[in-house]
Amino acid sequence: MIEMVNRPYEKAFEKHALAHPEVLCLSADLTSSCEIDKFRDDHPDQFLSLGMAEQNMMSFAGGLGLAGYRPFIHTFGVFLYRRPYDQLMASVAYPRRRVRLMGFLPGITTPGGMTHQAIEDIAVMRSIPNMTILETGDATEVESICAAADSIDGPVYCRVLRGSVPRLFDTPIEVGKMRELALGDDILIVTSGITTEEAMRATAALAKAGVSVRHLHLNTIKPFDDAAMLDHIQSVKSGVITLENHVTEGGIGSLLAEIMADNGVGKKLLRLGLKDTYAHGGSRAYLMRYYGLDALALTRGVERLMREEFGITENDLAETRVDAVHSLAKAEGL
């Protein structure tokens, strides 16, 4: 049974911010939704409410960076780049301000539908010079995201999980270091964020079916060490499969495609994720099934890549974790 950790960000941010007085907590009217309401109440001197005005907030954060502070901006991922994109470029990314963009509800982890689902954020951020991208995949990574982000000399975009988060790992994020979860030699599975848990559900069933899986989890998406990944790609016989909580253009699927093409690797690559489509509102489990982002979709992908059917069904996969959309474990419905 996987250990579930309730609101890991809340305590992690408080611990980090109190140890670093130059860290400021910025919020744009989603304070409880980003688990910083307790911090606001307990440490008002280090908290800045900037209201529903993301354009001003982004440039303001750039000004705080110029004044020597390291602002952590808390809001939903979409609101960190869609509306204030110009400000993100001119006030934060270009001048390499040490602004930490804490993007909650990545991809389809929100029932809020298109307006709330950051499904192309990694593609956008990967194309911004000077930007670093981190993504959390479990409670331990959420607990270590503040220190990891704050170690970067420049702007950082983080995909942060909230509410009840499973603990999959027991070591903190080391920026730039991928996690090697399995080292088989048939097929390479690369995941990040919530798709890692899905892949872990699938790997036991795949192993039982005789597939030797190599599974890597990415918490640092940019910058990226091509050489280490290339070794893994060259270690498998049947190809590479990526599963991402994101569109398949510009995210980790594209990242693998670039590495393989740049190095002339003649292996198959299957990119699973949102296929040139928006999602709609619904529970995470429903959306992952509907859009083919779950463990079952991954096993089907492995079958396609290996041209073999293993007869794996939902019953063979490790127990699915079902979150109620409006459970108490969540900060709020949205």
Partner: protein, 312 residues
Amino acid sequence: MTEALRNEKTTEDVALGIRRRVFEHAMRNNGGYLSQACSAAEQLAWLYNEELNLGAPTLPMIPKPFGGVPHRDNPAYHTGAGYNGPVTPEHDRLFIAPAHYALVAYATLVEVGRMAPEGLAMFNQDGSSVEMIGAEHSPGMEVHNGTLGIGLSTAAGLAWGRKRRGEPGRVWVYMSDGEVQEGQTWEAIQCCAHHRIDNIKAIMDVNRQQCDGAMDSVMEVGDIKAKMEQFGAVVVAVDAHNLNDMRAAAKTPHEGKPLIILANSNPFHAMPILEERFPRLHYVRFKSEEERARMNVSIARSLGIAPIDYAH
């Protein structure tokens, strides 16, 4: 260089010198930001020659060539802020929010002895740091403001941080009235008021012009002063060509609020022949050699100098 840092010239002389330099540049280059020199010369002259508390420049009088953009592989990168002196707690900072005024701002740096005249000749030349739209690395600039409306927000963040640190230096923003069409300007004013940021002061060139022409024909903005006051600023309207007006306005108390001086300006001030080009004044490119020659004679006479010998 032996040019004086400040106060060796009267502010009136600095303003006249700015217009002469921008005029000469526009004549030699068959066009330029002439109207901005008409409207803004007194404001920038007053800021640099009187109001701003700046230290001596820390960068060479003749600007270095473009040295690359900010990047982890470019550790020697620096902005052009050093032309405004060192960054210290007691000194003021200035952002030119409409970076399109760069030519006028560079001319000001020359007039107050912070940049050599050779710097102006580098304007908009390939490989130069003296860029057409002022960049972070351009003389006198500290942040990118080429997209309009972001300057006041950045200044607000800096001002909040400086206030928290107890720094006595103020943050000044030079603004343009077209920026009030951007929603971010209003977000910034309400933010300053909410957080009681009062070490920020702005002066806005209200020339009623924008790229497409007269503002009223492009997008009416109504009563800027009343709107800004409603959003939480202390606002004083002045004649942009009356130095005493600006001097008095800057002394207006504004505890807990930002101060915004609306400088109502004439976009043909001191170059009346430019009215012929109304309402397309944003960038005056001469339509013919005949017009260029006629404007050369007329504006030179208005500015009290001989026509520019631009024929090469």
